[in-house]
Symmetry: C2
DNA sequence: TTGTCAACGGCACGCAACGTGCCGATAAGA
DNA sequence: TCTTATCGGCACGTTGCGTGCCGTTGACAA
């Protein structure tokens, strides 16, 4: 964009990086609709071959573009208070997940995955499952420290936590706000927490 | 398909019904990929106008087609045992939701909704929210009969129940089997049930 | 410094689906 | 029987796909 008029024609890895960035920029501007290979090529001032040489399809390009920005802050803190740590992480990752450029790219991948089982599997493994696994690690530590009950299937608990948030983000029209997260954590702690087990879940 | 060679050209409502059925048949055969207006028109032996006169887009046609088959057994039974009633309904609606023709059509709508906020809202209101509301009705009755604790946000509970199942069905690659449903209900009853509140959730 | 060659941008192609316009045929209702 | 909206068929221009070709250019080795 801000290149000099006579910017030298870049090649190889430099072009690859530039193309990923262009894809993210375009996604942030126009959303998933209007995000296609020709548009990326036009925007980058590049022949289509230059893209197809690197990625076999738009989905592959989107996957790489998403990886480029979706490594941020995926790790939970461990302050010893599992509820507070989950809460902080959910609050942080919510806007990151919905807003540009991650939101549009994520939506694009989900759309294409509906007609492409292989992409669906890749998307699940590389992104959804990764988030679940980090969550599982954190709550497993909480189980070891006695914050959560022993006889609990935490793998499923992690799926419910992440699944509920993803459901809101990606399928429903509701927003994930602080109230949502608190309710989710109330339910989680009521079901799996060791403290105050004689009372019902807070509202 | 099985029409006589010289079947009279149908019009009006009869054609509408036939087109919806053709859409469902096609979806069951070829899935979401390959499901487009031209294909439906070819399959039905119909001009494209005949479709566009009734629906402004493929999404609108899919919505109507889904409504045609998604009215089945949405109501929960009420045997007085909320866990058993939820379990029965989840077991029943799972295959119905994933299998043809509902599965492919649902996937198609989700894909298109990713780039169409209006469709997204319609899909949420007309299908996802409807299922949540039926669930809410059933668990609200359970709250009145004392099966569930009083100070619980059941609206959110219904969202978690349905959201977790939808997450598996529509975003993950896992299947919704009996074990999943039992774990989900274990968690639900541990968080919101009045019985055995001093023990942890069953695994 | 020069030579080599893969990567590059630009252009064009055939394909498929979109949404629309026009035509003559037809079936439903007056 | 007459009228008319609906119908099937066909064609059009547009867009994006994925590929092929061609002349240029930048990186790297000699």
């Amino acid at each position: 964009m801000a290149d000099q008029p006579a910017a030298p024609r870049r090649r190889g890895a430099a072009r690859t990086d530039e193309l990923l960035q262009t894809t993210l920029d375009l996604a942030a501007e126009v959303g998933y609709a209007g995000l296609n290979i020709e548009a990326v090529a036009r925007r980058a001032g590049v022949g289509k071959h230059t893209i197809y040489r690197r990625w076999p399809s738009m989905s592959a390009l989107l996957l790489d573009a998403l990886s480029r920005v979706w490594t941020t802050d995926l790790d939970y803190r461990d302050t010893g208070d599992v509820r507070a740590d989950l809460r902080e992480q959910f609050l942080r990752s919510g806007p990151a997940l919905s807003g540009p450029p991650v939101g549009p790219v994520y939506r694009g991948l989900i759309a294409e995955a509906q007609s492409d089982p292989a992409l669906r599997a890749t998307l699940h493994e590389r992104f959804l499952l990764t988030v679940e696994r980090r969550t599982l690690e954190r709550i497993t530590r909480a189980q070891h420290t006695g914050e959560l009950v022993e006889n609990a299937n935490l793998e499923f608990a992690a799926e419910v936590l992440c699944g509920t948030l993803y459901y809101r983000h990606l399928l429903s029209t509701r927003v994930v706000d602080e109230g949502t997260i608190d309710q989710l954590l109330d339910m989680f702690m009521a079901a799996y927490g060791t403290a105050g087990r004689a009372s019902g879940p807070a509202v």
